[in-house]
């Protein structure tokens, strides 16, 4: 990879996810994790993309092996539990509960002409509060300080999933 080539091939990641939807491998997806947070806050270093998906096959693994097979068939490499686009790791994660709601209610995104969906800040905050690591708490603070958060929506999400920002 040359210095000028994108280290984060996000448009390719989203295209690959769109292909999974159009070929009927998954029902829906949205971009979550750090790359979703960066949509709303100042840029920070991250080394992977998290795609949350609603699978068509509802088995214990969320049909993840079928999804990985489909992506490998498109030429994506595999390293551990990550798929690699170029050298950039991408995780395709089956959504459940709060993350499934986050996918269903995600905002539309147009990234370099590729249509996609991205988690709302209120869902990113709720997910971060449910995980509760130091970096998640820092992410909550960043989102609260740097983007417009719909407090009513956030409170409703937290209440629905029995979460609180102080926990």
């Amino acid at each position: 990879m040359s210095d000028d080539s994108p280290t984060i091939p996000l448009a390719d990641v989203l295209r690959a996810a769109n292909d999974l939807v159009s070929t009927g491998v998954i029902k829906d997806y949205a971009l979550g994790g750090a790359l979703a947070a960066i949509h709303y806050v100042e840029p920070f270093t991250t080394y992977g993309a998290d795609i949350f998906l609603i699978p068509i096959v509802q088995d214990l693994s969320g049909g993840i092996s079928r999804i990985y097979d489909a992506l490998r068939a498109k030429g994506l490499g595999v390293e551990g539990e990550h798929l690699l686009l170029g050298n950039f790791p991408v995780q395709f994660l089956p959504a459940h509960g709060l993350t499934e709601e986050a996918v269903r209610e995600a905002k539309p995104l147009d990234y370099k002409g590729v249509p996609a969906k991205i988690f709302r800040p209120e869902h990113i905050i709720a997910i971060a509060s449910s995980v509760g690591r130091h970096k998640d708490l820092a992410r909550i603070e960043q989102l609260m300080a740097q983007t417009k958060v719909d407090q009513n929506l956030l409170e409703a999400i937290l209440k629905r999933h029995k979460l609180s920002l102080s926990s």
């Binding site: 984060i8 709303y40 100042e42 840029p43 920070f44 370099k112 740097q146």
Partner: protein, 148 residues
């Protein structure tokens, strides 16, 4: 970084922010954590040395340190940034040998070459008669004694 600057970064377009994340990833590869840590330690050392020297000038306290392998005892007169851009100390050397063979007198010390720097409990009364608060070897004076 100030909160307003961070907020301004947050308002940039997503594509622009992703390009910045790519730059951060490249920088992290070019300057791995260990290198950054070493740079931070060096900066902390420089700040500690600077603080010791400035307080010694303010309180007119004698300093001791090792320089070019020799112990030195000095009365600090002026601390600042040399015309070449690095921290230097103009001090009157009371004791100790030097590379030039001269034991005593006003000398310019490169702070980066000092080690085992410590402020003693000994005080000196005032600046030396040849002291110049506008030391021509420095482009920036950060602390200096008043004229005697």
């Amino acid at each position: 970084m100030k909160p307003e600057m961070r907020a301004a970064l947050a308002r940039e377009s997503y594509e622009k922010k992703i390009r910045k994340v790519e730059q951060l990833i490249r920088l992290a590869k070019e300057f791995p954590r260990e290198q950054t840590k070493r740079a931070g330690e060096e900066l902390a050392r420089t700040e500690a040395v600077e603080s010791t020297i400035i307080s010694a000038i303010r309180d007119r306290m004698v300093l001791e340190f090792m320089y070019n392998g020799q112990p030195r005892t000095v009365e600090p007169q002026t601390y600042g940034i040399s015309t070449a851009g690095h921290p230097v100390l103009r001090a009157y050397q009371r004791h100790g040998r030097s590379g030039s063979g001269r034991a005593n007198g006003l000398r310019l010390f490169d702070v980066a070459k000092m080690s085992r720097l410590k402020k003693t409990v000994k005080r000196f009364p005032k600046a030396r008669p040849e002291h110049d608060p506008h030391d021509s070897a420095m482009k920036e004076v950060r602390a200096t004694l008043p004229l005697p």
